[in-house]
């Protein structure tokens, strides 16, 4: 295998990064003020919640699972968070509410983990089912969109520190968090369990615990995504996360992680979200009807799934010719 091939395979986020560069190029061509501080901040603010969510999704997919309830978890934590605070909550109250929100996310993730790792239910069906439970709870907590968030909180989220948007710090923090996780034994065993669970078991890895942990981690990241989203939007809505599940999966796939697990990483997923958002920008600036967005999402998944298979087919045909 060539050096380039090895480089690309060991850093699965390099190809997505190239795609991102191309997308940014097209976007800049259509929208010449793209690099203005204000525009950049606007884009990053929209991306951050989905990026956090996609990192969570990447974790569970790396371990060989999938979580279709992440959107519902975002809705649930959003309603819990908004209900606990009011327009004039103080810092302590906000911190408390965030902590409760993260706890709820972890708990929801633990329910998924219990079903998949202990009861050994199918991840797709299980998390699809639990997504209705979480969405139902969210509706029960906040039947009508509403609630308010302290002005200072939303203002902070839009603000700049040293001329750099707060959302950019959020993204940096997210990547650091992932890199730290990647260094732990748990982060390591995610790859082993997703890559070959039999082998992991034979090597003394507690496979069930790693699977369970991957769902809990996804729950926590969903809660963090919900908090960021609440800061961005400034209110509560029990259906706020509905569209985010599919987007998170598309972003993970787009970021070079294989859906079967064991390969890829969360940095790719972060880049995947950026690509998705920019494609959405392009669609709107190019005057294409917005319902094409769903079509584009679907095509991206198809292309990403078919890509490796096509490469394999081409390679095999070439070998047969020899």
């Amino acid at each position: 295998m060539s050096r380039l091939g090895i480089l690309l395979r060991n850093h699965t986020w390099l190809v997505p990064l190239l795609l991102l560069a191309i997308a940014v190029g097209v976007n800049v061509y259509l929208q010449d003020n793209f690099f203005m501080q204000r525009v950049l901040n606007g884009n990053l603010r929209v991306m951050l919640p989905l990026m956090i969510l996609a990192v969570g999704q990447a974790i569970v997919i790396l371990a060989g699972g999938i979580d279709l309830s992440v959107g519902a978890m975002v809705s649930l934590v959003n309603t819990v968070f908004v209900t606990l605070i009011s327009a004039d909550s103080g810092g302590l109250e906000l911190a408390g509410a965030m902590l409760v929100g993260v706890g709820v996310g972890a708990l929801a993730g633990a329910v998924n983990g219990l079903c998949v790792a202990v009861l050994r239910l199918q991840p797709i069906v299980t998390t699809y089912a639990t997504s209705f439970i979480f969405a139902g709870l969210a509706l029960a907590i906040l039947p009508r969109p509403g609630g308010s968030v302290p002005r200072d909180l939303t203002r902070f989220y839009r603000d700049y520190i040293l001329e750099v948007p707060v959302a950019a710090y959020g993204i940096a923090l997210l990547i650091i968090l992932w890199l730290l996780l990647r260094r732990t034994r748990f982060g390591h065993h995610l790859y082993a369990v997703g890559g070959n669970d039999e082998a992991a078991r034979a090597s003394g890895v507690r496979v069930g615990l790693v699977r369970f942990g991957s769902y809990v981690a996804t729950g926590v990241f969903s809660a963090l995504a919900a908090i960021a989203l609440t800061m961005s939007i400034g209110s509560g809505n029990a259906r706020i996360g509905d569209d985010m599940t599919l987007s998170s999966i598309v972003a993970v796939v787009l970021g070079g992680t294989r859906l079967a697990g064991g390969r890829g990483g969360a940095i790719g997923a972060v880049i995947g979200v950026a690509i998705l958002s920019i494609i959405r920008n392009i669609i709107s600036f190019a005057g294409i009807p917005s319902w094409y967005q769903t079509l584009v999402d679907a095509l991206i998944i198809l292309a990403a799934l078919a890509g490796p298979g096509l490469v394999y087919l081409i390679r095999r045909q070439r070998n047969d010719g020899n």
Binding site: Y191, A192, G195, N196, A199, S203
Partner: protein
């Protein structure tokens, strides 16, 4: 000095006694070979020692103290490690990550990548001279050759610093240089006081590295001998339990014409196989398990890509898919009924007719299909409640008859059987043999792989023996004895003759 003793260990799977009385002593500073023919219980005994299988009775003592080993993890904690055959590698992870999986060196809460790489490098150094290209700790396991992967398995076991090391067919995918290096290391580890158990299908290797040999036969330990003072023929005799008369009751030799002819076939695990089967002939495939028998049959069924020439009834055929093979009249009965043979939740009728629906028109004539299926059920004496019951309600023997039945409905010319009687009770086996004989007498060419040597000897006119994916011997007539079969499986000759050797007469 370390000393692991297993005494009177037994294990039963359902109705099958895999091990009745297993005994072995693995002592520090010694290499003990574990020898036995197929079904002798040697692999069960090995798995019990390493915690992969829990025994029904018997005891294990380590340095005089009784121990319970529930999992590979328990075994490792006691200093007992086995080299698995590619069972424990994660292909997408690096060499270093694989070697240290489950015991990663930690530093300040995180994994110490540098330490892991360095220590992997030191371990790789042990084999560095025997790699054809450099293997580094950061390379991916999926990029390595099978031999290199096997070495990673060995190094992984060494990373646990075992006192007792079980090498189960550890040389199977190594090349000559790598085997040499492993043997040097084995000698060195033995000097250092490690206790080694060595399982191999190559008699020559056992003669080279082992000090003692424990021989098992039919689940019993038949003896322990000093390898240096015991001849290979004596070992074979211990494995088979003495001379057996050649079976002469088998059917007459078939006529000269050939129905299935294979020339220079290579596929997956097998290399350069030549064989032919006449109509009305039942040819056995013997040898220890996992020597390429399945690969050979799957290639003939179009389920594995192959190179070489296959002729059926004199016509050259290209069996690139099972569908094509079926069209040529080839049928395949798998050993793993669950995975390859049956749709367990679907009905007996659907299972029987799955390969044959094309005969029942566009809108399937259910009535006729059912009548044909019922006839097959009667003919094969399959005990069923209702033909619409799901197959999983059947016993193993009856389920296997359904697998055969579904091919009989197609009236195959060539029948390939891959260890079909595994896990079937004695009564069902007898019926099954009778059925095979009926098919043979009706002119079907049958190629029959079995891990049960007795079965091969009782049923087949001719047995080909595979070892390491190569055809080692063709045994027929007087030469078809259990001793010759076991000797050929181990790559040695019993009493100076292993039948007609593949090199001299096996090739056309």
């Amino acid at each position: 000095m370390t000393r692991l003793v297993a005494s009177n260990v037994s294990k039963q799977y359902g109705a099958v006694r895999a091990l009745t009385d297993g005994n072995i002593e693995i002592e520090g500073g010694r290499v003990t070979a574990l020898l036995g023919a197929n079904g002798s219980g040697k692999s069960t005994l090995g798995k019990i020692i390493t915690g992969l299988v829990r025994p029904d009775s018997g005891e294990l003592t380590l340095d005089g103290e009784r121990v319970t080993i529930r999992s590979p993890k328990d075994a490792r904690r006691l200093g007992i490690t086995a080299v698995y055959q590619e069972l424990s590698l994660v292909p997408h992870m690096s060499v270093a990550h694989n070697i240290w999986l489950g015991q990663e060196p930690m530093r300040r809460g995180g994994i110490d990548q540098k330490e892991m790489r360095e220590r992997s490098g030191e371990l790789l150094e042990l084999f560095s001279a025997s790699f054809s290209t450099r293997v580094t700790p950061t390379m991916r396991v999926s990029d390595l050759t099978p031999g290199e992967r096997q070495i990673i398995e060995i190094l992984k076991a060494m990373a646990w610093r075992p006192r007792i090391l079980i090498l189960d067919e550890a040389t199977a995918s190594l090349d000559g240089r790598q085997v040499e290096r492993l043997f040097e290391l084995v000698a060195q580890w033995r000097e250092e006081g490690m206790g080694l158990a060595f399982v191999s299908h190559r008699m020559e290797e056992i003669a080279r590295v082992a000090d003692r040999a424990v021989v098992l036969r039919n689940g019993d330990t038949v003896g322990e001998v000093d390898v240096a003072t015991t001849s290979e023929a004596q070992l074979v005799q211990m494995m088979t339990g003495g001379a057996t008369a050649p079976h002469t009751t088998r059917q007459r030799a078939a006529s000269g014409e050939k129905l299935l002819e294979v020339e220079g076939l290579s596929s997956g695990r097998v290399r350069d196989i030549n064989l032919s089967v006449a109509p009305g002939e039942l040819v056995g495939i013997g040898g220890l398990q996992g020597q390429g028998q399945a690969s050979l049959l799957l290639a003939l069924f179009g389920a594995e890509p192959y190179r070489g020439t296959i002729r059926i009834a004199g016509k050259r055929v290209n069996l690139s898919t099972p569908r094509r093979a079926m069209r040529e009249g080839v049928a395949y009965v798998p050993g793993d009924r669950g995975a390859e043979g049956l749709l367990p939740v679907r009905s007996i009728l659907e299972n029987l007719q799955l390969p044959s629906w094309h005969r029942y028109g566009l809108l399937l004539r259910q009535g006729k299909a059912q009548a044909d299926a019922m006839r097959a059920v009667d003919e094969l004496n399959i005990k069923i409640g209702d033909i619409e019951d799901p197959v999983r309600t059947l016993s193993g023997g009856n389920a296997q008859k359904v697998v055969i039945g579904k091919w009989l409905l197609r009236k195959p010319r060539v029948l390939l059987l891959n260890d079909p009687t595994k896990g079937i009770d004695v009564g069902a086996k007898a019926e099954f043999y009778a059925l095979l004989e009926r098919l043979r007498d009706a002119g079907t060419a049958i190629l029959f792989n079995s891990s049960d040597d007795e079965e091969l000897l009782a049923l087949c006119q001719k047995v080909i023996v595979l070892q390491d994916g190569q055809l080692r011997a063709v045994l027929e007539g007087e030469a078809l004895t259990h001793e010759n079969l076991v000797a050929a499986s181990m790559g040695t000759a019993a009493n100076g003759s292993a039948g007609r050797s593949a090199d001299s007469g096996g090739r056309p």
